[in-house]
């Protein structure tokens, strides 16, 4: 699943999706391979991840000044708390040149292109505490749009459920399409008299599956920062797609007090529950030098210990889905 530019999630987190229905066996049977200081990433020591977004559409009147209301939101589509009056910076309206089923399929297959947007960049409405907005107040490239022009695009005779999908979304911040918190799909219909669209906590449904319990744990020396991770041999990423060369742009190591099984259950919150986090950019190449990892205060990665769980992840900076392409568990190993 890769979201297009207009739908990019925040990618600063180590992991943004959580596990549903998966868990570690918890019996200690998960294999560990002592690899010394040099980790070679492989499909066998990578976690697995999949996700599906569904966007149940509603039908509303066409060629009218629709009202959007997101004031009732208490959670975003990832289940995180959301305060609409203070936590949002922009509302968007997008028109996709795909019917909803195809849109969802393309979205989930990570194959959406800007060419699929009818109007790009999307119409948007900067927010300063508002919890609702009217369609005709939305801007295009910072410029007001006339009612007549809106009607050209919200015309059920042209943009039918069979050929297009409308989305209204709200996001944190004002970077267009970044950090979207909720989306509501809709169709316009000449016969409909509905003019109000309310975003609810279930407007966007995200299901996901992550698996940390089937991978081979990488055993590395304790207290050693001079580790490396080489992913040059990877063919398939955790999402089941091609592990394209040059797409990994950053790496992160996190330490957790939880077990892997517990982390699977809290996958969504990995970035927030880490007791220590170390990050590094990967400007080129396919080898991470762990000595480049720093925490938020600039402190260097000290190496791992035998307390809790250590994870290392690799993320794709230009991908719409921020789920790491690679992630594995590190354990101390004296071999």
């Amino acid at each position: 699943m890769r979201l297009p530019p207009g739908l990019a999630f925040a990618a600063s987190t180590l992991v943004v999706v959580t596990l549903l229905g998966c868990g570690s066996d918890g019996n200690g049977a998960q294999p560990t391979m002592c690899v010394g200081a040099s980790i070679v990433a492989s499909e066998q020591n990578n976690y697995a991840f999949s996700s599906t977004i569904t966007l149940p559409p509603i039908t509303v009147a066409h060629m009218t000044n629709l009202s959007f209301d997101w004031g009732a939101l208490t959670k975003d589509f990832q289940g995180r708390p959301l305060a609409p009056a203070t936590g949002l910076g922009m509302a968007l309206v997008m028109i996709w040149d795909l019917p909803i089923a195809e849109f969802e399929a393309t979205l989930n297959a990570d194959e959406l292109y800007p060419a699929d947007l009818v109007v790009s960049p999307p119409l948007n409405l900067p927010l300063t505490g508002a919890t609702s907005g009217k369609l005709y107040n939305f801007l295009l490239n910072g410029t007001a749009v006339t009612e007549e022009m809106f009607k050209l695009y919200f015309d059920a005779n042209l943009y039918t459920a069979a050929n297009s999908t409308f989305l209204v979304g709200v996001q944190a911040g004002t970077d267009l399409g970044r950090d979207l918190r909720m989306l509501q799909a809709f169709h316009v219909d000449a016969a409909s008299t509905v003019t109000d669209i309310a975003l609810t906590n279930t407007s966007t449904k995200l299901t996901y599956s992550a698996n940390l319990h089937s991978l081979t744990i990488m055993g590395v020396p304790a207290g050693t920062a001079a580790l490396t991770l080489d992913w040059s041999q990877m063919k398939t990423n955790a999402l089941g797609h091609e592990f394209k060369e040059g797409y990994v742009t950053s790496a992160i190591v996190g330490h957790y007090t939880q077990t892997p099984a517990e982390l699977e259950a809290k996958f969504l919150d990995l970035d927030r529950i880490a007791t220590a986090t170390y990050r590094a950019d990967v400007p080129s190449g396919s080898v991470l030098d762990f000595t480049a990892l720093k925490d938020a205060n600039g402190a260097a990665f000290p190496g791992i210990d035998d307390q809790g769980t250590w994870l290392v992840g690799l993320t794709c900076g230009n991908c719409r889905n921020p789920a790491p392409w690679y992630m594995t568990i590190l354990e101390t190993c004296s071999k």
Binding site: R2, A115, S120, L140, Y247
Partner: protein, 521 residues
């Protein structure tokens, strides 16, 4: 980042140089089979003759050997190697009368590891021109001119793919035609930067493509807050890149081919940035404070002046047309609203320089107009298409972006054909595909005639933002549906030869046959 440095001393002897005489084949080996040429040059890459004379008055080849036995050349010499080709291998250590040496050194840029940096010296006296041929094989294929004013004849090898071994060869020449040539040398390029998204390229007719390099930028935001300006080669491979802030739209090499001008167009134009970067990426000037609220793109004039447009700060957001001189002086030439004689909001989105009459041609998206103004005093020369037009005749709907000036009376215009011209009272287009128009002006009768058009039908090609185009020397047109992340190369009859798609959008484009020398437009 891998750096490969080579250093070698190459000797070539022979005193009586011929034009392009070369070192009689620095690669050594066979001296060639064809008695190539009697009066002219004896081949440029091959060998200059087999046994007899390797050319009579011409040169005895540049890379090959200059004859095998006997004298390689009748009136001249057997190349500067003198006995260049006595037994075939006129190779690397021939010592002829007046022998010369070339001492090269090479590395790749630490900022852009596909850019080779070659420095060299030669014992050849009176060098007046030089070049470096380079390519993936010893057939080379690309040529970098050497600027002899540069210290150590520092020369950049531009256009190389990442992580590949390239061959190169240095040739120095005197005014009298004496040449000195290195053996084949190699340089290894470094890896691509991570995070560059390779476009998907679909080629329908490779033989009909123009080839060359595409210069553009990534017109969306990256998760890491920076977007690349970049150059793709004819295979769609990255050969150059430089990251500035996100939403890169304008990427333009200067006339000298030594610098890249890069600017972006972020959602908040107050955040717009402009950078001038050496082609090796090692020196970058952030000129943003000098060019506040610059938008879309700029055009570079032959003397390194740039013409650009930036908000005048007025309520209508109209742009001033401005210039920045090489010394940094900023001059306002005209206000777009006044130049067009319009009212209301403005949205200038393209500017091009017309060298023939020292004018600037710009487009205003909201007013759906293209206008020409004089650089000298900002006076309007003509206005096309909108309510204040000064020429009658054919018009277009749905506004425009990129312009390619083909002459004083001939222009290509990217027609957005948008139905949604925010803030405009001009008529919208059909919204079912953007395209290209060629318009011909009758400057005396003040009329406009559309003489060619191309439309890519379908929503995928309907870009309401951005868009650019350029006619190529072979008559093809490259057209960028920038906001939709699609670039096509089409024939004059509209046949799509190649289509390139990206998930990250394109900015304005510049297509070049070579990355050296003046820009094509």
């Amino acid at each position: 980042m891998r750096r490969i440095c080579t250093r070698a001393v190459i000797l070539c002897g022979g005193g009586l140089a011929l034009v392009l005489g070369g070192c009689g084949g620095m690669a050594g080996g066979s001296p060639g089979t064809g008695g190539t040429g009697t009066t002219g040059s004896a081949g440029t890459t091959g060998s200059a003759g087999t046994t007899g004379s390797a050319g009579t008055t011409g040169s005895a080849g540049t890379t090959g050997s200059a004859g095998t036995t006997g004298s390689a050349g009748t009136t001249g010499a057997a190349g500067i190697t003198g006995n260049a080709g006595s037994t075939g291998a006129a190779g690397t250590s021939v010592t002829g009368a007046g022998g010369c040496t070339i001492t090269p050194s090479s590395s790749v840029s630490t900022k852009i590891p596909t850019v080779g940096i070659v420095t060299w010296s030669t014992s050849l006296a009176g060098v007046q021109s030089a070049k470096i041929d380079f390519g993936l094989t010893t057939s080379y294929g690309m040529t970098a001119p050497v600027d002899l004013k540069q210290a150590n004849y520092r020369t950049l090898l531009l256009g190389m793919k990442a992580s590949r071994m390239y061959h190169y060869r240095i040739t120095a020449m005197t005014g009298g035609g004496v040449a000195c040539q290195s053996a084949d040398l190699t340089i290894m390029t470094g890896p691509l930067a991570n995070g560059l998204v390779k476009p998907t390229v679909t080629t329908n007719n490779a033989a009909a493509l123009s080839g060359g390099f595409l210069i553009t930028g990534q017109y969306v935001r990256n998760t890491n807050g920076s977007g690349p300006a970049y150059i793709l080669d004819s295979d769609g491979d990255y050969v150059w890149w430089y990251n500035i802030e996100d939403y890169v739209t304008g990427v333009t090499m200067d006339y000298a081919g030594t610098h890249m001008w890069i600017n972006n167009h972020p959602p908040n134009i107050a955040d717009a940035k402009t950078h001038r970067v050496t082609m090796d990426g090692l020196t970058a000037e952030d000129l943003s404070p000098e060019l506040p609220k610059i938008s879309h793109q700029l055009t570079v004039l032959p003397d390194e002046t740039i013409a650009f447009y930036a908000s005048d700060g007025g309520i209508d957001g109209c742009d001033d047309i401005k210039e920045r001189s090489p010394t940094g002086a900023i001059r306002t030439i005209a206000n777009s609203q006044k130049a067009l004689g319009t009212t209301g909001q403005c949205h200038v989105n393209n500017i091009q320089y017309s060298k023939q009459d020292d004018t600037l041609v710009f487009s205003d998206h909201i007013h759906c107009a293209v206008a020409k103004i004089r650089r000298s005093d900002g006076q309007t020369v003509w206005i096309l298409n909108n309510a204040t037009k000064t020429f009658t005749g054919d018009t277009w709907k749905g506004s425009e972006h990129g312009i390619h000036i083909l002459g004083l009376d001939d222009f290509l215009i990217f027609n957005n054909n948008t139905r949604l011209i925010a803030g405009s009272t001009e008529p919208g287009g059909t919204g079912d595909g953007s395209g290209a128009l060629e318009i011909k002006l009758d400057l005396a009768a003040k009329t406009v005639t559309q003489i060619w058009s191309y439309k890519a039908t379908g929503n995928a090609y309907q870009t309401d933002v951005m868009g650019d185009l350029q006619r190529l020397p072979n008559g093809n047109v490259v057209i960028a549906f920038g906001g939709k992340g699609i670039i096509q190369e089409i024939t004059a009859t509209g046949t799509v030869l190649q289509e390139m798609r990206t998930q990250t959008n394109f900015g304005y484009i510049q297509k070049r046959a070579t990355l050296y020398g003046p820009p094509p437009r």
